[in-house]
Symmetry: C2
Subunit: 659 residues, 2 copies
């Protein structure tokens, strides 16, 4: 028989009954809510317990406050990388009940002489739990309450705030309920939440169509940094297989001189720990990483756990691959499609532990070379348990690691990868074009429990994805998708210089592949022709850096605007009060106008005086008043407004604008 | 390192991570869904495992089928009272993958000679798991597939349905994932879901204002049964305390001759196991129970676990009550209100185990007298753990028990009581009057996970609740609320004869208490004056009995109707295809008209031919066509339509209506 009367349920945030940690970055708060109640009319007290998950860390406490409808809340800050735990304890608080009822009786003018004695008993009990000076103080309070003196004075004493505080310090938790689970938070560095990615093929960085080197690539870094990116991500940099190598435009037969796809990893020169000889040496790579660091850039590598037929693993560990009855190795296939240049690992093999450890050692190798950010290719074709294990193992030693998960067509699988430990994930942004689609999707990502475990990273293009929208919309389409990606999600990336050049030609009609894709050949981009678009990118990325509101996802809110081709949303930073309102014309062809409707109360904008909206792209300022205001956007100039809201505040002298 | 590749998550239904069972009644199905997926492109198979929770019961299996978006589903029937368990097992199905890919390759005209050999290997592996004749059959299949003969024949064999079935019988579950929890279902009798309650004070059943007896009450039973009720519920039938007895209209001082409130339980004649001497003997009670049974009625008693100051427990077990410092016992209070005629139990007392057991023995005592249905007074003022324990203990021996939980102003607490074992619960129906309120509330009760643990029982009035709506709306208001209660929820009840008499006078303006409430005095109702309203009740209850749709809650759907005072909803029985559409005029004063909009597809009504809606109250038939149809309701005649939908079907001869 269980004498614990308090019930704690509906605790949030938690993912799958606490099976997975929620995600935060350093400096954020964890806001915890729960339904907490007890039978009858007794008052209760509740505390949020939290601590780092490291051994020996002490629980700390935060008092919980009641909201409405038996919901309670408290929060705690996360200030260290790694894991934290949190749970809740709650108990019937007889002194609190007594004090509440005593006050009501006083107000109603009832006789309170017996109640004073009951109160004295409760104070006495607390004194027995207290120590030192507090104990003495409580004993004294008790004596006063029991003394035969004037009850007006005793009444004052009974309700004394100091007494209440003292007793609250020594609660009777003998029948306290502790929530049945300890929940966990993984705390990552701030770049986990706010990052700006630029994807680049190092081999295209050379002169003309010569195979570029890391040294060539190094020379591109200042321009990338100047655009405001903070992560530069390379497709695989390893030796490329020759057997069954794919030719240009993914043709089955490579011509002599074709360089092959970097994702067909492994040749006689080595596998996942080796560098393609044409790119340079390990020292060249380290030099590149260091130069990037000087420029405020991190180098991200691609983890593509698959092998070309020439990969050394194939000979050294035939047991890691599926063998066919004819003695050949099973290549990748998705019938009727065959990918004979790729051998997938067989994760169901007998010695899978060896395989798992080898793959872990690949990541460790690159961590040792100074890399801490990885983009993971096709994570959904390797077991979930493998990723959960390898990320936990590596993060235990290096909590700075960032893993970006590639996306694919199955949302449940994308979410599972987020839950099990991936820092960020690609999204379906590339295929969400209409107002309705964007609103639905980004509301799901930012306003449901998904936001606790899934950090979206929006990419308008990748080497695999040239969307129909970009194919048909011209330069305005590229500008529109850039602004959307950069302002809808705190992390975004582009695959360049294809993006700045507004490359839009598909391999064939209906395809999302680039024509003459850089995946299979070396490109020679004209450095002059990217300059204009790069200026817009620089402006957008500077706006992102200057506005904390754009570095957060969970405050995203969509607003009404009476034109299907215009979308309006806002983001706010609760700490700095930074408020940004974005309006984008989704139609790359025509000018559109409409009336934006803002929920002024929710946004903290005064209803009764004008406010300035400062378009940070065009550096134009508009004076708005009330909840309905007019916008008109010509996509051929700039297809969006990014407004910083500047509220008028009363100062000593007069109204002034916040800057 | 975990080699199990299949993930099972998002399993529904389940309550609080499986902490509580879901509820079903005998004959229902449990429909289970889950997200099930695996890395890569392998096919998988999944099975729903279920069994009775009794020791030694064998797991049975139901194959799960994929829906969309990695969601899988299966169901199982519950045919016995008590508890069932269910969980899920899923595994990578290599033969299924192989067969799917083989088919695709065939269609694409690819070479399949190696694939045949791979298939043969899979068949051989299955043959090793198979036994007896099946094993031989599989070996034979394998030999065929490996034979050097014509591959057209082998291709046919490879895709042979019998082979697929055979292999499916012997899956390779060596790396199967079993869902981490076994979930449970409590299966109750059908009356748990569909019941019709009539509350009656036995002491008012006598001649004039004489104290009525069980024998008097017995004479009322045929009329109650004739109205179509199946449960007759009595307020407490125990001796009533004299100390601090409340007088008429809850006055603090009782006059001589006042009978007191039945909820002030206990006097020198006995406590919770005794019968008020003026009502009769235990034999009289048993006779009443038996007579009720003959009439198809069950007697429900009130469990009010509290004591009058004269209750024998007060002397026998002073430790079960809180003692005040002046030596008196703590009475119930909700400052500034005092209830000095009531002593609550102190569930935090030292020997609470004794108290729990004594209270259990009270229920057991009445079970032994033939009672299996209980209405529980103020369950929220006793510990949740007590109810969970006592209901589980009693139900273990007697799975027929029904416990109806009283309601109060805190929804989380009501839901918790449902979760922990109460069969049914009062609701906030009494205070939901507008279309918006009713739609919101009953959608929450029937279309969210609440429906898995909370069975609503709607009461338009109780001895404690005479709503403002009933006070001001005259007889039409009583008719309106009756129809709503009887058709919104499969279980409902009224407190009569106050209801049939349309008693509407409050104790004072603003109060929900009846004037001259039967709680404190004996009433003398004129049997003639109830007859007209009872006829309506009989009709409504007959409609409920005749229409399985009205015996279910989870198919409730609200439909558009373009008048705020008209509400329209439907209920359907998926087994019998019974479909009922209810339209109620919520305004007790004026006639209203409007256009009902029905989602014909969802309701299974053909779009292209007329259908009959048969108003079962007025026995009037209307021919409707399409999704918009007109209704007009005068509340002074009958304030509602209860339409049975009679679809036209083509028979051998011509169209005919379903009857």
């Amino acid at each position: 028989m269980n004498n614990k009367r308090v019930i704690i349920e509906g605790v949030k945030p938690q993912i799958d009954s606490g099976r997975f940690p929620i995600k935060r970055v350093i400096g954020e708060k964890v806001e915890v809510e729960a339904d907490i109640f007890v039978d009858g009319h007794d008052a209760l007290s509740a505390t949020l317990l939290y601590r780092q998950a490291t051994k020996g860390a002490q629980w700390r406490e935060a008092d919980m406050s009641p909201l409405v409808n038996d919901r309670w809340a408290a929060s705690f800050p996360v200030t260290e990388l790694g894991f934290y735990l949190y749970t809740i304890e709650a108990w019937v608080d007889h002194f609190k009940s007594w004090r509440r009822d005593f006050q009501k009786k006083l107000e109603a003018g009832l006789d309170i002489s017996i109640d004073l004695l009951i109160g004295a008993d409760l104070v006495e009990q607390a004194s027995k739990r207290a120590t030192g000076k507090n104990c003495e103080q409580l004993v004294e309070f008790c004596q006063f309450l029991r003394a035969p003196e004037d009850s007006r004075l005793k009444t004052q004493l009974a309700l004394d705030e100091e007494l209440a505080q003292l007793i609250f310090k020594y609660p009777d938790k003998s029948l306290a309920t502790k929530y049945e689970r300890e929940l966990s938070v993984v705390v990552e560095r701030q770049k986990a939440r706010f990052s700006t990615w630029y994807e680049l093929f190092p081999r295209s960085c050379g002169e003309g169509t010569e195979h570029g080197t890391f040294a060539d690539c190094e020379r591109q870094l200042p321009a990338i940094a100047a655009m405001g990116f903070d992560i530069v991500y390379f497709p695989p940099i390893h030796p490329i297989g020759k057997t069954k190598r794919k030719g240009r435009n993914n043709s089955i037969e490579a011509e002599p001189g074709d360089f092959g796809s970097p994702w067909a990893i492994g040749a006689k020169e080595g596998g996942h720990k080796a560098i393609h000889p044409d790119l340079g040496s390990l020292d060249d790579f380290k030099s590149l990483v260091n130069r990037a660091k000087e420029l405020g850039l991190e180098v991200a590598l691609d983890l593509a756990f698959q092998c070309s037929p020439d990969h050394p693993y194939v000979e050294e560990h035939p047991e890691w691959f599926r063998q066919r009855p004819d003695g050949t190795v099973q290549y990748a296939e998705n019938p009727p499609k065959k990918y004979e240049d790729i051998y997938p690992f067989n994760f169901e093999c007998e010695n899978s532990a060896e395989l798992w450890n080898e793959l872990k050692s690949v990541i460790e190798y690159w961590i040792d070379q100074g890399v801490s950010t990885f983009r993971v290719d096709n994570p959904h074709t390797k077991p979930f348990a493998f990723w959960e294990w390898v990320i936990a193992e590596l993060r235990g030693k290096n909590p700075n690691l960032i893993f970006l998960s590639e996306a694919f067509t199955r949302p449940k699988i994308m979410y599972r990868l987020g839950k099990l430990g991936f820092t960020q994930s690609y999204t379906y942004f590339a295929w969400r074009n209409t107002k309705w689609e964007l609103t639905q999707y980004f509301t799901e990502l930012t306003q449901t429990e998904v936001r606790e475990f899934f950090r979206p990273n929006a990419w308008p293009n990748t080497p695999d994805i040239l969307t129909e929208y970009l194919q048909t919309g011209g330069k305005p389409a590229f500008m529109i998708r850039l602004v959307l990606a950069a302002t809808l999600t705190a992390s975004y990336g582009i695959y360049g210089p294809a993006y700045e050049l507004c490359l839009a030609e598909p391999r064939e009609p209906g395809s999302e592949e680039y024509r003459d894709s850089e995946k299979y050949e070396i490109k020679d981009y004209d450095p002059e022709s990217v300059l204009q678009f790069r200026e817009l990118i620089s402006v957008i990325n500077r706006i992102r850096r200057d506005n904390p509101a754009l570095q957060i996802d969970h405050t995203l809110r969509f607003h009404e605007i009476d034109n299907e081709q215009l979308i309006c949303y806002s983001k706010a930073d609760p700490v700095s009060k930074d408020l940004v309102i974005v309006v984008v014309n989704l139609d790359p062809h025509h000018t559109h106008a409409g009336w934006v409707e803002l929920p002024l109360d929710q946004l903290g904008i005064p209803k009764d005086r004008p406010y300035q909206v400062h378009d940070l792209i065009a550096d134009a300022r508009y004076l708005w008043l009330g909840h309905r205001n007019y916008v008109e956007i010509n996509p051929h100039i700039v297809p969006a407004h990014i407004f910083k809201v500047r509220r008028k505040v009363r100062t000593e002298h007069d109204f002034e604008y916040f800057l």
